[in-house]
């Protein structure tokens, strides 16, 4: 039965500089109980579509045309006060950032109850129902949790509360706008599973917005692919993933690395970058980046045409050649063999980093040590790439910042290129900066907006000791090295896209001719189509220049693609380390296994078991659990298996599985799934 029918929905933002057509003639239908994905890159109009359905487009946006029929009623023509009764009762919404979507000054219970009270429930009834909902979304101790404030809950728990609010009035349609993007994979798995459970038990329909093909593959029945404000393809997930009907979908699918994919080849990158919605290309919005584009594509816009029973595509090429396979067939460059040295160029042993703020509080108490890194050792050899993975907050950034001297090691030893640089002073600082450089996560924040690219890179060259007369030449060379035109040197950062800025960040890091690059999530802020470009660039640089990488990332598949060895970190400690193949194919530590199990893969043919591998979230480094730090969440730990008190009392040491593969667990041999 059709629940929602959207046709020709168009939303425009009226800006002083001109109108932006953020959503352009979007049409789709949604059946009861169906989970539909909307996937697309940043700025493709996903969120605006969702908000348009709710009639909650922000100023200066306006829905200029279209129909949104919910159970046959056109929502766009309802008066605002009637629309208000529909919001929260028939359509509910879950937003991206659980940190910001809950009101910090009201208890979560009050916020859930409010959703009921505004739709006519009495206070008592609202409270009862709220407690029910808290239990339903899996929040422990509903009674006491009811009185808690959002900041007292972890991100995952907060997102559950938001979902509880959405479910409060038994809405038929739940719109979830990237509900897991801000969460760790382990938590994402929990939330996705919860949504599916709810769909099954309540029979609600879900619109799932995401930019992650893996998520679509995991939970959706059908999906829309959006590009530049338009739907370019829609259809059943199983069909789209096997035989995409639009070149963009195809490119998107092949650009993401997979844990299981062939790592000997470079990634397929989509050239160029996503379109600027304020300045869309004239014809098909994808045509400038499309390898199949013909002249027709440049001049007029293709309509979304039904191709199969459920498949639609907006592509002139597909219209002509019915059987065309859009998957890239170009042979990719093979990765080169590279040299890995034998002495370590970076080694840290048993280091601690205290991030406990030393600021005095209102009553002058000194805060105790918070060891975000607590007794960690690892080493990197010249030319080697060590991947570092772990949930958010486990101390990855803290470790890398301590290596370059932004944080201080409070204990342990750090040796870089044969020199002990644990104490950062004068000469050591110099030594470190000439050997180790850093590439940051956020390309928008890592460049000074007030300085031209030439100034930023020139400054780096100058401290590296390049003579003033050579600076300009070297800067130009660096720009070319990272694939940018040297004539852009005089521009300011705002003139560049995210991917280009990240290239500039890399160029600046290379200015000092370092031997090691620390890459702190260098691609997680980028669109998937750009990610591949940067990963390929990094790979090329590494192999050409013989760099060693400390590569930090959330995305396990990206890490596998790039790394020689991988270290898995949990709450300030390494729990498992080994060659990439060992870790991914033969994980030993229960945490590693859980991480791998939680990572969604853009594969529809072999759907994974969706039961989340890990419960709860990472504890605070201020109060780490005694003994094994992982025990409070460990599926084979004392909480799940009897007689494992050793985990509470004793810290596990490393046990070698093979030469390079080690893990720290009291029960390594246990092979539970």
């Amino acid at each position: 039965m059709t629940l929602l029918e959207v046709s020709d929905l168009t939303t425009v933002f009226h800006l002083p500089t001109g109108d932006i057509r953020a959503v352009n003639r979007v049409s789709f239908t949604l059946q009861k109980g169906e989970v539909m994905g909307i996937v697309g890159e940043s700025g493709s109009g996903k969120s605006v579509t969702a908000r348009s359905l709710m009639r909650m487009v922000r100023h200066p946006g306006e829905i200029v045309s279209g129909k949104v029929l919910l159970n046959g009623v056109d929502l766009l023509t309802l008066p605002e006060n009637e629309m208000r009764t529909i919001r929260g009762r028939q359509i509910a919404m879950v937003f991206q950032d659980p940190q910001a979507t809950l009101n910090p000054v009201h208890t979560i219970g009050a916020q859930i109850s409010e959703a009921l009270i505004v739709h006519g429930a009495s206070k008592d009834d609202a409270r009862k129902r709220a407690l029910e909902l808290l239990a339903q979304v899996g929040i422990p101790n509903p009674e006491s949790s009811y009185e808690r404030y959002p900041h007292e809950l972890s991100g995952g728990m907060r997102q559950r509360v938001v979902i509880a609010i959405a479910l409060a009035n038994k809405a038929e349609l739940l719109i979830a706008d990237e509900p897991t993007t801000a969460l760790d994979v382990t938590i994402q798995a929990q939330i996705l599973q919860l949504l599916l459970q709810l769909r099954d038990s309540l029979g609600i329909s879900i619109i799932m917005i995401t930019h992650d093909m893996g998520v679509i593959a995991e939970i959706c029945d059908k999906t829309l692919v959006m590009y530049g404000g338009r739907v370019v393809e829609s259809g059943k997930v199983s069909e789209i993933f096997n035989k995409p009907l639009h070149p963009y979908t195809a490119a998107l699918l092949s650009t993401v690395p997979r844990i299981s994919s062939d790592r000997s080849e470079e990634l397929v990158a989509i050239p160029g970058s996503p379109p600027d919605p304020a300045n869309l290309p004239k014809g098909c919005t994808f045509s400038p980046r499309c390898s199949f584009a013909e002249s027709a594509c440049m001049n007029s816009v293709p309509n979304l045409i039904q191709i199969s029973e459920s498949g639609y595509s907006a592509c002139f090429v597909r219209e002509k050649e019915l059987n065309i396979d859009f998957r890239p067939s170009v042979s990719r460059k093979k990765k080169r063999e590279k040299q890995i040295g034998s002495d370590s160029i970076l080694s840290v042993s048993d280091v601690f980093v205290d991030v406990g703020s030393k600021r005095k509080g209102l009553f002058g108490s000194k805060s105790p040590a918070v060891n975000a890194v607590a007794g960690l050792s690892l080493e990197i050899k010249p030319g080697e790439t060590l991947g570092l993975v772990g949930e958010s907050g486990c101390g990855k950034s803290t470790l890398s910042r301590a290596i370059v001297g932004i944080n201080r090691f409070t204990a342990g030893k750090c040796v870089i290129a044969g020199r002990d640089v644990t104490q950062m002073s004068g000469d050591n600082r110099q030594w470190v900066s000439s050997n180790v450089q850093y590439v940051f996560q956020d390309p928008f924040a890592s460049l000074n907006p007030r300085r031209t690219i030439a100034q930023s890179i020139g400054e780096a060259l100058t401290v590296a000791g390049v003579a003033a007369s050579d600076v300009e030449k070297r800067a130009a060379a660096l720009m070319e090295r990272v694939g940018l035109d040297p004539k852009y040197l005089d521009r300011f950062p705002y003139a560049f896209s995210g991917g280009q800025r990240q290239r500039i960040g890399i160029a600046r890091a290379l200015a000092a001719n370092p031997k090691i690059l620390i890459l702190d999530e260098p691609v997680s802020a980028l669109d998937v189509s750009i990610q591949a470009q940067i990963i390929n660039l990094l790979q090329e640089l590494r192999d050409d220049l013989g760099l060693a990488f400390l590569f930090i990332a959330h995305d396990l598949s990206v890490v596998r693609h790039l790394s020689d060895r991988v270290a898995v970190m949990y709450l300030g400690k390494i729990v498992e380390i080994g060659s990439a193949d060992d870790i991914y194919d033969n994980p030993k530590h229960p945490y590693t296994k859980a991480l791998l199990a939680s990572s969604p893969e853009p594969e529809v043919n072999q759907k994974k078991d969706m039961s989340p591998a890990l419960q709860g979230s990472i504890p605070s480094p201020a109060q780490p659990p005694s003994g094994c730090r992982f025990r409070s969440r460990c599926p084979i730990g004392p909480l799940h298996v009897a007689n494992r008190s050793i985990c509470e009392t004793q810290e596990p040491g490393f046990e070698s599985i093979n030469d390079a593969h080690m893990a720290a667990c009291h029960f390594l041999l246990e092979s539970k799934k």
Partner: protein, 301 residues
């Protein structure tokens, strides 16, 4: 605080002239002045004078006014009520006008209301309080004679009349501060309006008025409290001019007089007192802030 006390002690003593002159007057002879200086203990070394004073302060004894020959604490407590009445009523008006205008500006959709408010607030912001006071005096006290403009009546003895006497000076004192508060609350509310949780509330189906108060205003209160706290400090400083304008005998006029007559001990005590009040206000606003915002509550524990 020790640092403040030294500064407070030294600053007025740097000025030419001393209390002996204020007592004896300009026609006196140098010998007479010297004699008075001796009886007042002003001939002793600064260190000694400071020591005598500061040890007294710790015992709760602020010394005697040179000019009035009365204990400073008595002088201050005699004037205290007047200033407190003024400050408290001005604070109340500050909150009423400031929060009122701020909330109106932060919630109204009407362009007309917004621009009228903007004009009013802008003018209040660019007019010094004493000028507002003078305008009020002329309009309401002299031209129309609706409210008393001079003097005071003890509020506790006769609340109704006391209140009438308080109205104009506290208006004059609070209006420009309330514009500051209004401006702040308005911007704060507009920025809170852009927060995601407001969207969530809307998505829940919460009506606009409830969003405005339960979500937007509630989250803007913290900033308002900080703003009000700061402005109360300014109010206290502003009492100095307003009191003399409206012929009220509070601490403000005592202070000016103390500076001009070099009545050091009075000045020292008043300033210490003012600093103590400033600290108290800050503490109060922190406590209120903690009461309002659960995040702060947790942080201070």
């Amino acid at each position: 605080m020790i640092f403040s006390s030294i500064a407070v002690f030294l600053l007025p003593r740097l000025a030419p002239g001393d209390p002996a002159l204020a007592i004896a007057g300009g026609d006196a002879t140098e010998e007479a002045i010297a004699e008075i200086r001796e009886t007042l203990g002003l001939d002793r070394s600064l260190v000694e004078q400071y020591w005598v004073w500061i040890t007294g302060v710790f015992r709760g004894d602020f010394g005697d006014s040179y000019l009035y020959r009365l204990p400073v604490s008595e002088l201050i407590s005699g004037r205290f009520q007047s200033t407190i009445e003024l400050a408290v009523s001005a604070t109340i008006f500050l909150i009423i006008f400031g929060v009122g205008m701020g909330v109106l500006g932060g919630t109204t959709r009407s362009r007309k209301v917004k621009s009228v408010l903007d004009v009013v607030v802008s003018f209040l912001l660019s007019t010094p309080p004493f000028l507002i006071g003078i305008v009020l005096i002329i309009l309401l006290g002299v031209v129309w004679q609706v409210l008393p403009i001079s003097g005071e009546v003890n509020f506790i003895d006769d609340p109704a009349t006391g209140f009438k006497y308080l109205l104009l000076p506290s208006f004059a004192l609070s209006l420009s501060s309330s514009a500051v508060v209004a401006r702040l609350i308005q911007t704060q509310m507009i920025s809170v309006r852009g927060e995601d949780f407001v969207d969530l509330a809307k998505a829940k189906g919460v009506p606009p008025s409830r969003i405005a108060f339960r979500h937007v205003l509630r989250n803007s209160l913290g900033a308002s409290i900080v703003a009000v706290g700061l402005q109360v400090g300014h109010l206290l400083s502003g009492t100095i001019i307003i009191e003399s304008l409206f012929a009220r005998n509070g601490l403000g006029s005592l202070t000016i007089n103390a500076v001009l007559t070099r009545d050091y001990l009075v000045l020292q005590a008043v300033v210490l007192f003012a600093i103590a009040i400033a600290i108290a206000i800050q503490l109060i606003s922190e406590i209120l802030l903690a009461a309002l915002d659960p995040r702060v509550r947790l942080g201070s524990e």
